[in-house]
């Protein structure tokens, strides 16, 4: 089943059919989510209006880690089964992940100033997310550092798997160390420790961010496939 979807032509066809729907869903979810986040939800009794920063911060953080995990899985697939599509998926996802990680760092900083009284603290959660950002940058730089794109993709795949050790560190940093950053309040085994009035916009925004990520990933992968096809055509024309 896996190999069926690894066929680039079939992937392009499916992506072309999925894209309008996922694009429309992204826009609709963002409209509803932003409405809930900015207007239809109450300000927090301690943080006031700054709680709304969380509706961008938390979904971006989820996506930034999920994206790295996705890249790691795709890298393993690329190294083991040598599917070219897995290389393209990893290569296309990395700049998206870097962007989301940057959003996490910036929004966290903006939220930290009024709430904690500082833009930045060297606690384990913040530091490990910063490391994640540098891992993304290293992955992107390594992908583009070779004249042979194949070689760049394979080297970046090994790096992605090595860097994956950071993901559990980020996830559990708030439990292992006594950090200023608060521990997880949504992804717990018992009921989430958040009031539904705040949880609703958060989940809506998370869904919107996820759809945005998927849409952009499909767009980038198709663009990459087309670029490869164009390069192959130019090479065959030059012969």
């Amino acid at each position: 089943m896996f190999h069926r979807f690894a066929n680039p032509a079939r992937f392009s066809r499916i992506a072309a059919r999925v894209l309008p729907w996922s694009g429309a869903a992204t826009i609709a979810l963002f409209i509803i989510g932003i409405y809930y986040a900015l207007f239809a939800s109450p300000p927090d009794f301690q943080q006031g209006e700054t709680v709304r920063i969380m509706y961008v911060h938390v979904p971006s953080a989820w996506i930034s880690m999920a994206c790295y995990s996705f890249i790691a899985v795709m890298s393993a697939v690329a190294l083991i089964w040598k599917h070219p599509l897995a290389d393209i998926a990893a290569r296309s996802a990395a700049p998206l992940g870097a962007g989301f990680t940057l959003i996490v760092l910036i929004t966290g900083s903006l939220w930290g100033k009024p709430t904690w009284g500082t833009w930045w603290v060297w606690d384990a959660r913040l530091t490990s997310v910063l490391v994640l950002f540098f891992l993304y940058l290293g992955h992107i730089a390594l992908t583009n550092a070779f004249d042979n794109p194949q070689r760049g993709a394979r080297a970046a795949a090994v790096l992605a798997l090595v860097g994956f050790v950071n993901i559990p560190i980020i996830k559990f940093s708030v439990d292992w160390w006594n950090t200023l950053h608060q521990p997880a309040s949504v992804t717990r085994l018992d009921a989430p420790a958040i009031d539904p009035a705040i949880l609703t916009p958060l989940l809506l925004m998370a869904l919107a961010f996820t759809f945005y990520f998927v849409t952009m990933l499909l767009v980038r992968m198709r663009a990459d496939l087309n670029a490869m096809r164009a390069r192959a055509l130019r090479l065959s024309a030059a012969e």
């Binding site: 190294l79 530091t127 490391v131 540098f134 891992l135 940058l137 290293g138 730089a141 390594l142 550092a145 070779f146 004249d147 070689r151 394979r154 080297a155 090994v158 790096l159 798997l161 090595v162 860097g163 950071n166």
Partner: protein, 221 residues
């Protein structure tokens, strides 16, 4: 095992005959650490407090200087292809390279570190922590650095790229290495930090040669 010994002996022979490369890393180590008191002021009460961290940061950079050449000479003159075809195996090769990199860099840093401790006015009671943390930490730098060196083989601007890839991975070593020295200066127990460093070393010893071998395979094919 015989292959490992032979490879390490070959590397050490090359390093000895190559002359100044290894010494340069140590000179950089001392020189860069000497710069800090000029920048932050030479207050004798402050220097011991920041000394452990600075010695470790400079050690990371010094170890990284010679990483780029770990595989590049063999890659360019084709020895790497022959070693790939030899019965030794890439994992053993990676381990041998990391081991000889440590012997030509880490050990020298270890020898030079007490001099820096002197310059930074570290108390004698912290020397043990400095020595033990460097003894456990510097092999990790060589092992993890080998992954980066193999990944950037044949890359454009390999040196800068290597720093970008490797320095984030060095952060845990830095935290616990400097933490051990700071603990000793402040009179706290240092065993936890050293145990974590030892754990890192064992994990790196088990996993890094394997990852380096995977990276080398991509470079050769």
């Amino acid at each position: 095992m015989i292959g490992l010994t032979l490879l390490v002996r070959r590397e050490l022979g090359l390093a000895l005959r190559g002359g100044t490369d290894a010494v340069m890393a140590v000179v950089f180590f001392v020189l860069a650490a000497v710069l800090f008191p000029f920048g932050v002021g030479a207050d004798p009460a402050m220097l011991p407090r920041i000394g452990g961290g600075i010695i470790w940061v400079v050690a990371l950079l010094a170890a990284m200087l010679s990483l780029e050449r770990m595989f590049s000479a063999d890659y360019e003159d084709g020895s790497l292809d022959l070693l790939y075809l030899s019965p030794v195996g890439l994992g053993t090769l990676a381990l041998a390279k990391a081991l000889s990199h440590w012997m030509t860099t880490g050990v020298l840093l270890l020898i030079a570190a007490p001099i820096l401790a002197l310059l930074y006015n570290l108390p004698v009671s912290a020397l043990g922590a400095l020595f033990l943390s460097m003894l456990l930490g510097t092999p990790i730098l060589s092992l993890v650095g080998g992954i980066g060196a193999a990944l950037t083989l044949g890359a454009r601007r390999g040196g800068v790229l290597l720093a970008l890839l490797i320095l984030p991975l060095y952060i845990p070593v830095l935290i616990f290495g400097a933490g051990a020295i700071d603990g000793a200066v402040a009179g706290r127990p240092i065993a936890p930090q050293l145990m974590v460093l030892g754990g890192f070393l064992l994990a790196a010893l088990a996993l890094a040669p394997w990852a380096t071998a995977a990276a080398l395979r991509q470079a050769i094919e």
